[in-house]
């Protein structure tokens, strides 16, 4: 229930109603109105529009098209998008434009238009409402600038991640005379974050090489810093220590003293050739044991499990000597392979991996790529963890 207006407000009510005749509404509306032919020639314009833009009625009516009131860039937009949309759809809404005023000043506006047709669908008239959007445009430009900054920042972060990743993962392993080495790496998810997996293949002296593959806990820049530390520690320690277990012990000490709060797993294989025969010495710290596939025989894991790196005081690691003969292959991998999961949660597991390794007995790249493909397919292409594989085959 509304109470009847008092005398004073009753008079105001009637006066406001009196002012609201259609002609006054048209001219004094708080938005600009333009009517044009379907081709855009102005046939009628209200006073608000004229006041805002400084044009006289006779400057516009019958003389100018709506598109003529736009700056050049806006004209292109009008002709390529706005006008076709209006023609096809019968309306166009909330189009941001600038009107060039009579004194050259530009008025940011939002424009709504409808195109009226006759009974046969022939276009008759375009009715356009123009809203002053000066403040809104200023705000939008700020939003746009913020969006641009965010996009640039994201692009820089991605670039940084990729650059960092490339320093942790050699794009192609070096050529080792007498060995066929292949590696594959696939970051988790969309590849926008630096993963914790790393590998390295480097020479210590003639016929003396080290292959290391590891996994630092976590992701991102902090993990990458630890990954870099681990990778270079293994390089440095391999010069001082022949035995992979000593390399792991050094890495463990460095990680604990660096106080990174992150642990790491790694497998180190030292490959040496004497009298034409290769021998691998393998040590593991908290890492899945590598697979050894001898010519004509099924693949089996080799080495002894060792403790996580960077966690326990006085850990003990064990070396295992593995003579390698032509046709043998050693496959190092991270748990992103065996712990890959299907949607319903089932693990990829050791057996699937072993089966793939048994099946592909060609060049090292074949088995490496086959593992990556199979694990990715198993997860329907969506890796939840990094995947790294290095295969060393004796030629």
């Amino acid at each position: 229930m509304t109470s009847p207006p008092s005398d004073a407000s009753d008079a105001a009510f009637r006066e406001a109603l009196r002012q609201d005749d259609p002609a006054l509404l048209y001219d004094r509306a708080p938005c600009g109105y333009l009517s044009t032919t379907p081709d855009g020639l102005v046939v009628r314009v209200n006073e608000t529009f004229l006041t805002w833009t400084g044009y006289r009625r006779e400057d516009l009516v019958g003389r100018r098209r709506f598109v003529d009131l736009l700056p050049v860039g806006g004209r292109i937009y009008h002709e390529t998008h706005y006008a076709p949309t209006l023609r096809l759809q019968g309306s166009a809404r909330e189009i941001a434009l600038e009107i060039v005023c009579s004194d050259g000043r530009r008025l940011p506006v939002l424009v709504n238009s409808v195109l009226d047709h006759d009974a046969d669908g022939v276009p008759l008239v375009v009715r356009t409402a123009v809203f002053d959007a000066t403040e809104r445009r200023r705000y939008e430009l700020e939003v746009l600038a913020a969006k641009r900054r965010a996009e640039e920042s994201e692009a820089r972060a991605l670039q940084l991640a990729q650059t960092l990743q490339q320093t942790l993962i050699p794009p192609t392993p070096p050529h080792v005379p007498g060995l066929d080495v292949a590696a594959a790496y696939r970051p988790a998810g969309d590849g926008r974050h630096v993963g914790g997996d790393f590998y390295d293949v480097f020479q210590v002296s003639t016929d003396d090489w080290v292959v290391v593959l590891g996994d630092v806990q976590g992701k991102g820049a902090d993990a990458a810093a630890v990954t870099a530390l681990a990778r270079y520690t293994v390089r440095a320690a391999s010069v001082d220590h022949d035995a992979p277990r000593d390399v792991l012990r050094t890495l463990d000490e460095v990680l604990r003293s660096a106080d990174t709060g992150r642990f790491c797993t790694a497998v180190v294989a030292r490959l040496r050739r004497a009298d034409g025969a290769w021998q691998a010495t393998v040590a593991c710290g908290g890492h899945p044991l590598p697979l050894l596939r001898r010519r004509g025989r099924p693949a089996t894991s080799v080495g002894r499990h060792g403790p996580l790196l960077g966690v326990f005081p006085q850990p003990a690691f064990t070396d295992t000597d593995v003579p390698l003969r032509p046709g043998d292959a050693l496959v190092l991998y991270t748990d992103g392979v065996t712990e890959a999961r299907r949607r319903r949660g089932e693990l990829y597991g050791d057996d699937r991996l072993t089966a793939v390794v048994d099946e592909h007995r060609g060049p090292a790249a074949d088995v490496t790529d086959a593992i990556l493909r199979d694990v990715m397919a198993y997860q329907s292409g969506d890796a939840r963890d990094d995947i790294a594989v290095v295969t060393v085959a004796v030629e």
Binding site: V72, G73, H81, P84, G90, S91, D116, G121, E140
Partner: protein, 264 residues
């Protein structure tokens, strides 16, 4: 996703007949041809499609490198022709797609019978001794105006849930989807479109060519249409008494008649 899905290719008309392929320009989608293309269904296999980034195309197929030049868009056209196994093609290209058609016809002329260039411009910006109609500052301003419409374009992408009581024949499905354009791709496409220079490609066209030009077009002035006619060997120019850059919308009957006269 096949090439045909990628571009939301629609094929209609007479199966096995000579193909006529309509290619939309910057800022809109294949709906641009809805008042013209059906007139050719009696005697042609009519093909329309959306460029990547427009209409119902697969946005994920946008490749900044491939689509960083008009040649990439021409390669898309050629892929569609190959996929549909089309030969003896009449290609009708509007606006920038006139040049995309030129590039496709220069690259693989064996596919083509005729070219119809609607409002073509081989170069939008002025150059020594050449009037394209725009300065580089104008183009920068266009890119800015695309930015201002960032929000507007986004909402254009979203289905407009509104009736069209004046034109019930359009139906709800169609009103929802005219001229949808991904804003980011539109901005890049604008760069490629308005900063291209394809003047050197025009003399390499070997198929009969019709230039359709509006008398009053702020995007492609009559002088540019004349330039294209003079540069393409044997090309004809037909001036349409129409205003604006889209005669297929503002003067569909005249546009249809001019194309028909050339291809039938």
């Amino acid at each position: 996703m096949t090439v045909l899905d990628r571009h939301h290719v629609r094929v209609s008309g007479a199966p096995g007949a000579q193909p006529i392929v309509f290619v939309h320009g910057f800022g809109c989608d294949q709906n641009m041809w809805r008042h013209v293309a059906p007139a050719f269904e009696d005697a042609f296999t009519v093909v329309t499609f959306d460029h990547v980034g427009a209409g119902a195309s697969d946005l994920s197929a946008y490749d900044p490198v491939r689509h960083g030049t008009l040649q990439g868009y021409a390669d898309d056209v050629l892929e569609i022709l190959r996929e549909l196994d089309l030969h003896d093609v009449v290609l009708v290209g509007h606006s920038v797609s006139a040049m995309i058609g030129v590039l496709a016809a220069v690259a693989e002329p064996e596919h083509f019978d005729k070219l119809v260039l609607v409002g073509p411009s081989p170069r939008y910006t002025d150059d020594h001794g050449y009037t394209g109609g725009f300065t580089e500052a104008d183009i920068t301003e266009l890119l800015d105006s695309l930015d201002s419409n960032y929000l507007g374009w986004s909402s254009v992408m979203a289905p407009l849930i509104m009736g069209n009581p004046d034109r019930p024949e359009l139906g709800a499905e169609l009103t929802a989807s005219f001229c949808r354009t991904d804003p980011d791709i539109a901005r890049r496409f604008a760069h490629v479109t308005f900063l291209s220079d394809n003047r050197a490609d025009l003399p390499r066209v070997t198929v009969p060519t019709l230039v359709l030009q509006c008398t009053d077009d702020v995007i492609a002035p009559v002088a540019v249409g004349q330039y294209v006619r003079d540069a393409v060997p044997g090309a004809r120019l037909v001036l349409l008494d129409a205003t604006g850059h889209c005669p297929q919308l503002s003067a569909p009957a005249a546009t249809t008649a001019a194309i028909a006269e050339f291809v039938r």
